[in-house]
Amino acid sequence: MAPKGRTRTLFWLIILISFLALVIDLPQNLPLRFSWKNFTLDTQISRPDFNFSFGNFKFKKELELKQGLDLAGGSHLVFKAKMEGVAEEDRPAALDAARDNIERRVNFFGVSEPLVQTSKVGEEYRLIVELPGVTEIDQAIDLIGQTAQLDFREQESSDSAVFISTDLTGKDLKRSQVQFDPNTGQPTVSLEFNAEGADLFGQITTRNVGMIVGIFLDEQPVSLPRVDEPITSGQAIIRGDFTLEEAKKLSIQLNAGALPVPIEIIEQRNIGATLGQESIEKSVRAGLVGLLMVIGFMWALYGRLGFLADLGLIIYGLITLALYKLIPVTLTLPGMAGFILSVGMAVDANILIFERIKEEIRWGKQPREAMELGFGRAWDSIRDANICTLITCFILFNPFNWSFLNVSGMIRGFALTLGLGIFISLFTGIVVTRTLLRTFFIKKENKA
């Protein structure tokens, strides 16, 4: 039997956690309207923002539920990168460049939170693009599908901002890499030209010593280096006050021109926003009805014990939703199903315990002792049973991106919500319910 002090501490801790979770769960603004006889209440509860700063440490968190494509509407596109024309060792760099290229073009559309991922399946390189909110994507596909155009331009005159195109373009560039200056240790960006490019670049740099040779990607300047001396070797280096990140970015942009990869669409899914909205409303309503049924069922079956389990279940709901916002979990339709299923499983721990308590009482134990024994003895079953579900969640979620398993966002959403649900339900089903039981039940019994 746990010491009284510890139970009390736990009790207040649970109250605190539940309250924090409740605050996080609130929508940004919650209007409250209430009127009773002469008393009218018309106010709005605003959730405080989570912005902290301790010295250099700043913490800011947007507390909005992230919705997946199937709920918010949008497009999911999978492209295959055609790498036939690219040398084996340059392929990862070419894929990075292609991703950067797509990102740049997607940003041009003003899409909020686009997602561009790369993946390699067997010998095939792929690009996965998710565009929330965009369903008219004919244009998007056309634009994304174009390869990048890189060219080098000369200044019109020494103090002019006008650049004139030269014959040197991305196809003359072999590759670009990030290097470090051996003297200063600063990151620099190297350019390596092919024979024709070396020749052209030699001519351009000889003509333009002291002037700027602009590098343009899709008509936008990406670097404006000044020429120090003629470079005829075909190996150039761009120096500048680069951070490593900036140097990498520049190198990737140059590679987009040097290693252009044609892409081909192999999968596309468009989900209209209305379908998503309807699904959310329906699922939320279904979840609430289901929850009420479970609460009623537990109460009818186990009386006061069941009521405490219901409290635990509500706390479970609060904590889960708060975690979704904090992590954040992108909520998809299967994800919501996973959550709702985990509510059912959350109650299981309590049912196992309560049945055990009933049994111990039948075997002649005092209710108080039976309660403590029930929690202890049910643990083995609860553990073994939940480990099996966790194994399945692990395989479905595929956290290490093993290429022989699925990495579909939908299935992952389901596995994540179900797995989280099990962990939280173990906490609420055992720790929370036991503490509530000890606090309310045993106190009452002592009085009697």
Partner: protein, 293 residues
């Protein structure tokens, strides 16, 4: 109660569900969605036009596209499945429908999956199922120190999978219900739920074995079932409540996913008491006979 006396009855009941499903699986197989075989799925919506879907199909086919199937998916929406098409083709189809039925259809959903992608998913899915099954088998065998517990739990698990596969094969043949990625998710979830439920029963057998070393095995199993049946039913009821609410009130897109989970939950509850436990008894009897010889 002497539950084990009727063990052949339980197997008969399982067979009544399993055999038609298995026959259907062998004869008709499953109806795979475009997730697995590649193709296009287009969902359109007409506000006004009330023509039967076969009329729409005719118009689309006259435009020059092969339609695999067409079915209504809501009051005003309908789903068209066909060979992989492009976004331009969608515009053509919409224009043709608009001309014929004097109303521009709204595009609700458009999905296209390349055929190689589909095959790849199929292989990955099979690997996932085998991996999950063998890991769970390993865990159960380790937790109960005896291979027979693990093996019987896995047989019960396959029982539930076959029930689901069989029923979906029948549904696919008679109602055109497709098997997609979500169905696989449901299948994997039920694999773990089935073992979850079985473990609780086995756990009680293990505990009783320790507490009453003298009692014969059948009595032990009977005792364990009597003690866990209420819990097993109550727990399944809560899950079934949630699923039923989702099935009746949830959206159209996850309807069959929820239905698969519902069948699996019912089968999983049944199998842990009426398949997994009797199997253990039979295994024990065979073991005893072999030892005598």
């Amino acid at each position: 109660m002497n539950f084990m006396k009727f063990k052949w009855l339980y197997f008969l009941l399982s067979a009544l569900v399993l055999v038609p499903g298995m026959i259907s699986l062998i004869l008709f197989g499953l109806k795979p969605s475009i997730d697995f075989i590649g193709g296009s799925l287009l969902e359109l919506k007409f506000e006004e036009s009330q023509s039967p879907t076969t009329d729409y199909q005719k118009t689309i086919e006259e435009t020059g596209f092969e339609v695999y199937s067409i079915q209504s998916s809501g009051e005003k929406e309908f789903l068209i499945r066909m060979k992989p098409i492009t976004k331009d083709d969608v515009s053509l189809i919409k224009a043709a429908l608009a001309e014929k039925f004097e109303e521009m259809p709204q595009e609700v959903r458009f999905e296209t999956v390349g055929p190689t992608l589909g095959r790849e998913l199929l292989i990955k899915t099979l690997i996932a199922i085998l991996l999950a099954a063998s890991t769970i088998l390993g865990y159960v065998a380790w937790a109960f120190k005896k291979a027979k517990f693990g093996a019987c739990a896995i047989i019960a698990m396959f029982h539930d999978s076959l029930v689901m596969l069989g029923i979906f094969s029948l549904l696919g043949h008679f109602y055109g219900v497709e098997v997609d990625t979500l169905f696989v998710t449901a299948l994997l979830t039920i694999l773990s739920f089935s073992v979850h439920d079985t473990v609780v029963v086995y756990d009680r057998i293990r505990e009783s074995q320790k507490r009453h070393p003298g009692i014969n095995f059948i009595d032990l199993v009977n005792k364990a079932i009597t003690e866990t049946l209420a819990r097993s039913l109550n727990n399944s009821m809560t899950i079934i409540f949630m699923l039923l609410a989702l099935y009746l009130l949830g959206g159209e897109t996850i309807k069959w996913f929820i239905f698969a989970l519902l069948i699996g939950t019912i089968s999983g509850t049944y199998s842990s008491t009426f398949t997994a436990a009797p199997l253990l008894v039979i295994w024990d009897q065979i073991e005893a006979k072999v030892k005598k010889k």
